[in-house]
């Protein structure tokens, strides 16, 4: 029997052709991708011509159609509103980010793009502030901080681009940013006090991300300060809020008692109202 088993085992050497295996994989994945598309339900367009068109214009049809349109629109608006209030990790959060990206893509004016970038940064801060107390959301907190950092880098790039095209406009936008930066700084610094529930390893990693965010925030402040400083002698019209001197950002190390340096903004939390202000 052992001899037979050994002979059967020879069959293990049977293998498919390697190139077939590879091409088959590509074919299979492309077939799958193709089969996934009909899920979007484009059928009604195909079915539509089968209707008797005269029926569509009957009052009953017209009312039914209007109701459907109304319900669908309200539903969509409802989803979009719900998405706006969603937090990272929520089901509708990807909708929120897609809406933001779409909004940004369709904004061509440099000043508006910069304002949008700062608006999104404020939203990230708002989300961060809401998530910080939730121990189960550690991963999302970290992602939000990273997204805020990316947003800060975007703001700097937008500002530099705007500065080259229209220095005066850039200075105006810089003032708006300058009003927001202390709030961000305050939120980030204070957040480290609330991290007691996070595991030590995760805490360190999150603190590094917060420090990184503070670093980028500092750079943004430098850019705005420089712009406002440049603009002041030309316009000779310095608004009150530009008198705020750039504050040095102190990144608290672990174990250190955290005392916010931006005490004047102690009670200010980013909120949707502030987002509106930026707009």
């Amino acid at each position: 029997m052992d001899v037979i088993i050994r002979k059967i085992k020879h069959l293990q050497r049977i293998k498919p052709n390697a190139s077939w295996l590879q091409s088959q994989r590509s074919f299979l994945l492309s077939e799958i991708a193709r089969s996934q598309k009909p899920i979007k339900e484009k059928k009604p367009f195909l079915v539509f011509p089968l209707f008797n068109f005269s029926k569509i214009f009957r009052p009953a049809f017209a009312i039914a159609f209007s109701v459907i349109v109304l319900v669908t629109s309200l539903g969509t608006i409802g989803v979009m509103n719900a998405a706006q209030n969603s937090l990272p990790g929520d089901l509708l959060y990807p909708v929120k980010t897609v809406l933001e990206k779409t909004q940004f893509t369709f904004t061509t004016d440099d000043a508006s793009r910069t304002k949008l970038s700062i608006k999104f940064a404020t939203q990230r801060m708002d989300e961060f502030n809401q998530l910080i107390d939730k121990s189960e959301k550690t991963e999302d907190i970290q992602k939000t901080v990273k997204k805020f950092t990316q947003q800060m880098v975007a703001v700097q790039e937008e500002m530099n681009s705007l500065k080259e095209k229209n220095a005066q406009k850039a200075a105006e936008v810089a003032k708006l940013i300058q009003a927001q930066t202390p709030i961000y700084e305050d939120t980030l610094i204070k957040s480290t006090e609330k991290l007691g529930y996070i595991l030590p390893g995760e805490k360190e990693s999150l603190k590094q991300d917060i420090n990184q965010a503070l670093e980028e925030l500092n750079k943004t402040k430098q850019v705005t300060d420089e712009l406002i400083g440049k603009e002041t002698p030309d316009t000779n019209n310095v608004p009150e809020d530009t008198e705020t001197t750039p504050q040095e950002i102190v990144v608290p190390s672990s174990g250190e008692t955290i005392e916010s340096q931006s005490t004047q903004f102690e009670n200010i939390q980013p909120s949707t109202e502030q987002v509106d202000k930026v707009e």
Partner: protein
């Protein structure tokens, strides 16, 4: 097979596949495609047919997993082998086994891919294959799964929806039937 199971990778890939992750499905394909091809190749007469049925098996399992009507309780492996087995049965229903044997290009296939100068080895492999396709369908399956694919008895029991005891009996009888066919031809 064991390495996939020990790291629980298959479960994770299966759950990702169920939620529509094509890349996860691609990884399952990479792991199972050579085995499923071999299983089908040993049971059908032509290389092209084996390739077609292997491909069809993967498409069918993807469709099955995407239906989302029920909870997937079986392993990906068990599902895939069941699908491949049903496809082969359907094929056999359409074509007589005599036709299948007449079309068999297994010898050419062996010559194309095995060690060319080891004639004895090729002859042995061909003889085993000839004997294998002449025994009962159930025996063929358990012999391939147990000795070639090296699945465990519980794994085969899952694929065949039979008790482990019944599988042990099938393996024993299958081996005996194979031995008789080999002796006849020698």
């Amino acid at each position: 097979m064991a390495d996939l199971e020990t790291i629980n990778k298959e479960k994770e890939l299966l759950s990702r596949t169920v939620s529509g992750d094509k890349e996860a499905f691609g990884q399952l394909y990479d792991f199972y495609a050579p085995r499923i091809f071999r299983f089908i190749r040993l049971k059908v007469g032509s290389q092209t047919l084996a390739e077609d049925l292997s491909s069809e098996s993967f498409l069918r399992i993807w469709e099955y997993l995407q239906r989302g009507e029920r909870e997937i309780e079986e392993s990906f492996q068990a599902l895939l082998y069941k699908i491949a087995r049903n496809l082969i049965i359907d094929y056999y229903k359409r074509k007589s086994s005599q036709e299948i044997l007449m079309d068999d290009d297994f010898k050419e296939f062996l010559e194309g891919q095995l060690i060319i100068d080891d004639t004895r080895l090729n002859e042995d492999t061909e003889a085993v294959h000839r004997a294998l396709v002449n025994i009962k369908e159930e025996y063929q399956d358990v012999i391939i799964w147990y000795y070639v694919d090296e699945l465990s008895v519980p794994q085969i029991a899952k694929i065949m929806d039979k008790s482990q005891g019944a599988i042990r009996v099938l393996i024993h009888r299958g081996l005996k039937a194979l031995k008789e066919h080999l002796e006849e031809t020698e």
